[in-house]
């Protein structure tokens, strides 16, 4: 891997010559930051380290002449140019529809298909399977082309919400880098040839000795039945599973407690107090969308009389759930386990462990709170925590009377829950011993992501016939004889179970763009019914005893009725007292934790540009991962990062590179200092450092799998870290800045809120109301407005990707992000409050504020941005000449400029992908959030046809639709009964930069945290450390 890394770096040096030449400006002086924080009085907000350090060395750089600039033919452009060629030659086969009418005679619809009106989108229900879960989705289809994903309100795992992965999966479908043909030893072959090979192989297999199947987690009942059928046919064949970001801890924990694998299903809506033991249950893992929605609903504030639940999160590295917590405690992953044991002891379950330093008070309080809310409390163990912690959580929930109330147990959603680490170990051992003749790898990318000590690639060489079904010609494909292009889920028939067992039919929205096949087809090829289609197989699974009408209803609803598993009544014989004595980690020992990346997950989304360019919730990094360390740990090792002069705070940060030796591997990683990270913990996000992915994913970031061994899948110790002295440019969209005393995010504790529900109101802003030189606009009809509840927003990023998908916003590539030119119409600002080591994180989504007195409108020389009759600030792209004056004059800096032609106009796939209702902007044009004006107009047309006013909630903007915690509400502010008007009428409602009197239509509701007064954090603990 280190060789790879070097290659990577060289590659980057070459491509980003300018970046490398950019002088460093100043470094982060943590001691100075602490001092500054400790000196300041009152509540201080800050964004990141450079700003706090306030280092004057920046000036030094200015004595230099302007350093040499590299060629403007930057990486992103090269890639595009290459894509143009690649697309032209590769992609046209499946896409005859986009090159004008074919030469053969074509016939239009004689009878229009039912429900289809050309120009009107249709929505189909389907489901996205990920790990041990599936999210029910509604997919918008324009004339047969899926263009946009929404959550399925009828699906228990979505409730209408969606996440960034689901939103970005549209781009995954149209990705021109996808594997497109069947290949054998690198030569193009036909599916028929493969079927023959499979039939030949099946003949010699006899009992199946030597046949192995490797899958990820399977929640598809049909696929599971097929594989089981195959195993019956070949009794000695074996089914292995490897999901790199799956949770063996959860499976083994359940086994430990209940004697078998069961799923825990939570009901956060019923819990008064929730304790998360390193569980990011609001943003990842089974059921997270449902949990996020129910958790947020339980905390919605309408006035002083509202109630809030309380969330404690103990975690090593800042997560979305941690940001939502009322009390977040940075703690090493292993210390979380110790705390759980101590807590179990405190709750009278027996056992116990030495407490992590300084958490006595916390233990006392949490134990008290949990006991006080028996039956209405909830303990959740994190997916990356070991089996014991899960077992402790189950035991505590039981002891607290939460079973059946806030948590219940069901059969697992996975068809065949096994210990994945063990499963892949067995497979590797068999391969090593030459006991594998035929290996079917269905999805996944084990050469890249299997534990490093198993050396999967080397062992794969001993397999005679390796068949790989994969979406990309990736690292694993390189080592397999047969490569079958995998059909995207939007092209496939299948089925999938969600976290609670609810099954959905996965129905295709489009015929495979390339020659994609499903796992059903590949497994079928070795069975006695090779020719059967996936559609027939899925129907065969479900249709028994049901009518065609029911089938159609399942397809329509996106869920199969009454398939959710019933709660099991289980008894546990396990007691925490039976655990061996705890072995706490020495205080100065470095702990490494692996985490799925919030943007590319385990690496499967590495080639998805929307996700690559999505700023990660806590660090705001794009296009790279980085080893995350706490400020104190960074200080200890001397890691620094500094803003570069190109792009600066909004673009480029030069970061030190560390060489990490761990579990026998070695990797060089850029280091990012992240406030809120637990001291002594180095987080290594998975999913990057792909050596063979595609144009967007190859050679981005560092490969954490290179130091991940089977024995330490999530938490590792005993490694070493060394500063190499080299640096690396990271593209960070919001590298730093404190709030500089500007009241952008206003927050209060629940106690303060109850005393003063109008805590967001500032007296000096009152004076500004109603002042204007210009004549007021009048809105006799609608006045569109938006309210964003900062108490609900958890920074999960779903809105950002949803906005991009809906509005055809381009991605610009790392080189352009480094220069501060990313194109997101909605950004999520992240602020910190409190001390450097343990701050609270606050998120603020910022779309266009749609000002009443819009500063942008007055300065446009050609009237390209104008006020609509309903108060929208419209952009007229045709008229825009690109003076950028509007952006300069926008106090909120929400306008985005097409400095180059960022859109790819040539790649045919991307033509299919775009929303036909939104203009694809050209170079030299300003753009920004429109409040999804196309959606407003669609609804308006329908309403006018029916001669009625638009109903509240009928128009849903893309960001609002995606938001799992319902933080964004859009509607008619003129109608006092609308949801948005009611929110705006709350005392918590405020506008940012109100003193400018721009009078934004987008307003915010102040953040409220239900902090426990007993645990009130000292305002500036930094004082104690210095």
């Amino acid at each position: 891997m280190s060789a790879d890394d070097h290659k990577h770096k060289q590659h980057d040096e070459h491509d980003h010559e300018e970046v490398e030449l950019a002088p460093r400006e100043y470094s982060v002086d943590l001691a100075a930051i602490r001092e500054r924080l400790s000196k300041s009085s009152g509540k201080e907000y800050w964004r990141s380290l450079e700003e706090l350090s306030d280092n004057p060395h920046f000036a030094e750089l200015l004595h230099r002449e302007f350093p040499r600039q590299a060629s403007e033919l930057d990486e992103s452009v090269d890639r595009r140019d290459f894509l143009k060629l690649a697309a032209a030659s590769l992609a046209l086969a499946g896409l005859s529809g986009c090159g004008g009418p074919p030469s053969e005679s074509i016939v239009p619809y004689v009878t229009q298909p039912t429900g289809l009106t050309p120009g009107k989108p249709q929505f189909y229900a389907t489901a996205l399977q990920m790990g041990a879960d599936a999210i029910g989705l509604l997919v918008e289809s324009h004339e047969g082309r899926p263009t946009k994903i929404e959550g399925n309100p009828d699906h228990p795992g979505s409730l209408g919400a969606s996440n960034a992965f689901a939103q970005a999966s549209v781009l995954g479908l149209y990705d021109p880098d996808r594997a497109q043909v069947v290949t054998h030893q690198g030569n193009i072959e036909s599916w028929g040839a493969f079927l023959e090979t499979a039939a030949g192989a099946a003949k010699v297999l006899k009992t199946g000795a030597g046949l192995k199947i490797l899958t990820g987690s399977v929640t598809s009942p049909t696929l599971a039945a097929q594989i089981r059928g195959l195993l019956t046919q070949y009794p000695q064949a074996k089914w292995h599973q490897w999901e790199p970001a799956g949770s063996d801890g959860a499976r083994e924990g359940a086994k430990l407690t209940f004697g078998r694998v069961v799923s825990a299903v939570y009901r956060p809506e019923k819990a008064e107090v929730i304790l998360s033991l390193d569980a990011d249950f609001l943003a990842s893992g089974p059921g997270h969308l449902r949990y996020a929605k129910q958790f947020a609903r339980r905390r919605k504030l309408s006035g002083a009389g509202s109630e809030m639940n309380r969330l404690y999160v103990l975690e090593p590295t800042p997560s979305v759930t941690g940001a939502s917590a009322d009390h977040r405690v940075p703690m090493r992953a292993s210390d979380v386990g110790l705390f759980a044991r101590a807590l179990a002891g405190k709750l009278g379950l027996g056992g116990g462990a030495p407490l992590p330093a300084g958490s006595e008070k916390l233990l006392e309080t949490v134990a008290g709170e949990l006991q006080k809310h028996r039956g209405a409390s909830l303990v959740i163990a994190g997916e990356q925590q070991p089996a014991e912690v899960h077992a402790l959580a189950h035991a505590m929930n039981q002891a607290l009377g939460n079973n059946g109330a806030t948590v219940y147990y069901t059969e697992p959603a996975e068809a065949q829950p096994v210990n994945h680490a063990e499963s892949i170990r067995e497979l590797c051992a068999d391969m090593h011993n030459g006991r594998v003749d035929t290996l079917l790898i269905l999805g996944g990318n084990p050469v890249y992501d299997a534990p490093r000590d198993y050396d999967f690639a080397e062992k794969l060489k001993k397999v005679r016939l390796a068949v790989r079904l994969g979406a990309y010609a990736d690292e694993t494909a390189e080592h397999c004889q047969w490569n079958i292009p995998e059909a995207h889920y939007l092209e496939s028939w299948s089925d999938a179970r969600a976290f609670d067992g609810t099954a959905s039919i996965v129905q295709p929205l489009i015929a495979p763009l390339y020659q994609g096949k499903t796992a059903h087809d590949v497994v079928g090829a070795f069975s006695d019914k090779p020719g059967m289609s996936a559609y027939d197989r899925v129907r065969a699974t479900w249709l028994g005893g049901h009518t065609e009408k029911e089938w159609r209803k399942w397809l329509h609803d996106g869920v199969i009725e009454a398939t959710a598993f019933a709660p099991l009544s289980l008894t546990t014989k396990w007691s925490p007292a039976s655990m061996p004595a705890a072995k706490p980690l020495a205080a100065d020992q470095i702990e490494f934790v692996f985490r799925p990346d919030p943007c590319v997950y385990d690496g499967r989304f590495a080639n998805n540009g929307w996700l690559q360019e999505l700023p990660k919730p806590a660090s705001k990094l794009t296009w790279d991962n980085a080893a995350l360390v706490s400020p104190k740990t960074a200080e200890k090792f001397g890691f620094k990062h500094s803003s570069a002069f190109v792009g600066g705070e909004h673009g480029q940060t030069i970061s030190d590179i560390a060489e990490i030796e761990l579990s026998g591997g070695k990797v060089s990683a850029a280091v990012w200092t992240l406030p809120g990270q637990a001291e002594g913990v180095i987080t290594l996000p998975l999913g990057y450092g792909r050596s063979k992915s595609g144009h967007a994913g190859t050679n981005k970031g560092f490969n954490a799998y290179a130091v991940r061994s089977a024995a330490a899948l999530w938490t590792a110790t005993g490694g070493s870290v060394r500063k190499t002295g080299e640096t690396y440019p990271l593209a960070c969209t919001q590298a730093h800045h404190n709030m500089e005393g500007r009241e952008l995010v206003r927050s209060a504790s629940f106690e303060e809120f109850k005393k003063n529900p109008g805590f967001t109101q500032l007296p000096e802003e009152e004076k500004m109301k109603g002042l204007s030189l210009y004549k007021e606009f009048e809105y006799p009809g609608y006045a569109w407005g938006m309210a964003i509840d900062l108490a609900s927003c958890n920074g999960c990023n779903a809105c950002v990707v949803a906005c991009g998908a809906e509005n055809n916003t381009p991605i610009v590539g790392k080189e352009q992000v480094l220069r501060g030119r990313e194109m997101h119409w909605i950004r999520i600002d992240r602020y910190y409050e409190g001390s450097l080591d343990d701050p609270a994180m606050l998120f603020q989504p910022v779309p266009c504020q749609q000002c009443e007195n819009a500063p942008c409108e007055q300065v446009c020389p050609v009237g390209a941005t104008t006020h609509s009759a309903e108060g929208l600030n419209d952009m007229v792209y045709n008229r825009c000449i690109g003076t950028r004056y509007c952006s300069n004059n926008c106090p909120y800096k929400v306008r985005r400029f097409n400095f180059f032609r960022y859109q790819d106009w040539e790649t045919p796939e991307f033509k299919l992908m775009r929303n036909p209702e939104v203009t694809v902007r050209s170079r030299g044009v300003m753009e920004k959030c429109t409040y999804c004006v196309q959606r407003i107009n669609n609804v308006r047309i329908e309403a006018e046809k029916e001669n009625r006013p638009i109903r509240d909630g009928e128009i849903v903007t893309a960001c609002e639709a995606a938001c799992p915690s319902e933080a964004i509400v859009f509607g008619n502010a003129n109608d006092p009964k609308s949801r948005v008007a009611k929110l705006k009428a709350q005392q918590r409602n405020y506008t940012i930069l109100a003193e400018l009197n721009a009078r934004p239509r987008t307003t915010y509701l102040g953040a409220v945290k239900n902090t426990n007064p007993e645990l009130e954090r000292p305002e500036h603990p930094a004082k104690e450390t210095k």
Partner: protein, 459 residues
């Protein structure tokens, strides 16, 4: 300010034209530069460098139009960079010409005579350089060229008249037109002189055509002087209006550092400051290389130095007031901006500006400094740099950290920014070189008049 009223120093002050000149010597001396004197290696050397820069400008603009404004260092939040800095700088330089020609004419300042011609030419060339930038800095120059013009159209779409950029279009184009007319009218008698003295047929033809039939009759002279005075009257308000309107680009916006009422007078003073600095920058080599010390005397240089000192002090006052208001107003954005100028990432630019525009020019209080030609030349360059820095500080430093800390960023120019700027300097220098060799750099007619007056006075 006016040295002529200061009787005690009058004795020491050099004359506006050295004694001993007659109509003949004046005419001979000035027209020979155009008609008989060979170009010389120095001229060719200079113009070839300038021409090279013009070619570079062409390349930069062509690449810009081919690729987009992304080749520059712009981003969000700093969406205006070198282009606007250069635009304001060039427009400012273009102020001196009209000021010298029109206002000093109306104020009857005789010393303007030797310098007005090339100062006006400089104005035109500077405005031409300036005019390039607003056009090419747009994302889509091909539309900008006509969307900004209020032409009648069937769709009823007009420019947005609330935007200062539209005011700019009118202010700058009016200024350019009037300056051009003024310059051309002033040239008429001299063009006739050149026509009459030219020996080659093509020269006779071209100068003859341009002289528009000037015969030097009394009626001609009468009308000429009337027109010249009227144009001077017309041009006078423009001196103030152009830079006032340019300052509105900033003052009308909400951006801290832009949104201030002091900008119009402060911009006008700054423009005159830089304009005179540029006249000095051009006058010193011109009188040296073409032996024009008799016509452009120490009197001229010293007077211009005094104007620079005075306007420089107004500019300094502007800086102080900006700083004072930032804190006196209690506006947290303004006070942050003031601190950011002094201590932020671009602080070096700010302090360089203070050094160039305020500290160094204080030397001009000294008579010895004002009469030291080499020092004056260096100082004029320093002031030009300082005024460029002032625009950089205003444009870039205000934008890079405005209201939302989450959107703050940095700006660094690329080679294309620098190349375009250097290219316009090349264009300017090339035009000056061509001008010096093709038109009389000093007004022959007015010099003759001056010689007549001074000889009368001496009698």
């Amino acid at each position: 300010m006016s040295a002529t009223n200061d009787t005690s120093s009058l004795r020491r002050v050099a004359p506006v034209v050295e004694p001993g000149h007659t109509f003949g010597t004046v005419t001979e001396k000035i027209s020979s530069i155009v008609l008989s004197r060979p170009a010389g290696a120095g001229w060719f050397f200079g113009i070839s460098i300038a021409f090279g820069l013009v070619m570079m400008l062409g390349m930069c603009v062509a690449y810009l139009i081919a690729r987009g404004t992304g080749i520059w260092g712009l981003n969000i939040p700093v969406a205006w960079g070198f282009a606007i800095v250069n635009f304001v700088w060039w427009i400012g330089i273009g102020h001196a010409g009209t000021l010298i020609s029109a206002i000093l004419l109306l104020l009857n300042q005789k010393w303007r005579t030797s310098i007005n011609r090339f100062a006006e030419a400089m104005t035109l060339f500077a405005v031409a350089c300036a005019g390039l930038f607003p056009l090419i800095h747009t994302g889509r120059p091909w539309y900008a060229a006509y969307f900004m013009m209020p032409y009648p159209n069937t769709m009823g779409i007009w420019p947005q008249f609330r935007s200062p950029l539209i005011w700019d279009v009118f202010a700058v184009s009016t200024y350019f037109t009037v300056s051009l007319l003024f310059w051309f009218v002033g040239l008429l008698p001299d063009l006739a002189t050149l026509r009459d003295r030219a020996t080659s047929r093509p020269q006779q033809m071209i100068y003859g055509l341009l002289a528009m039939g000037w015969r030097g009759s009394a009626r001609h002279w009468h009308r000429y002087q009337m027109a010249y005075l009227l144009l001077a009257g017309l041009a006078t308000p423009l001196v103030v209006s152009v830079h006032t309107v340019v300052s509105f680009d900033f003052a009308v916006a909400v951006v801290p550092g832009w949104h201030t009422t002091i900008f119009p007078p402060y911009f006008v003073a700054g423009a005159i400051y830089s304009g005179f600095a540029m006249v000095v920058t051009l006058a010193i080599p011109l009188r040296k290389f073409y032996g024009l010390e008799d016509f452009i005397t120490m009197r001229h240089l010293e007077n211009m130095a005094k104007v620079m000192l005075a306007t420089g002090l107004i500019v300094a006052y502007g800086y102080c007031m900006e700083f004072f208001m930032a804190f006196y107003s209690g506006n947290k954005y303004d006070s942050f901006l003031a601190m950011n100028r002094m201590h932020g990432p671009y602080a070096a630019f700010y302090w360089a500006l203070i050094l160039c525009n305020i500290v160094i020019p204080q030397l001009l209080w000294l008579h010895r400094a004002r009469t030291n030609v080499a020092l004056l030349f260096v100082m004029s360059l320093v002031i030009n740099v300082g005024m460029w820095l002032e625009r950089f500080v205003i444009v870039v430093m205000s934008l890079h950290r405005d209201f939302m800390p989450s959107a703050w960023g940095n700006y660094r120019p690329t080679i294309w920014d620098v190349g375009t700027f250097a290219g316009t300097i090349g264009l300017f220098v090339m035009l000056i070189f061509l001008f010096v060799r093709t038109l009389p750099a000093i007004s022959i007619a007015e010099m003759r008049e001056l010689v007549a007056h001074t000889s009368e006075e001496q009698k």
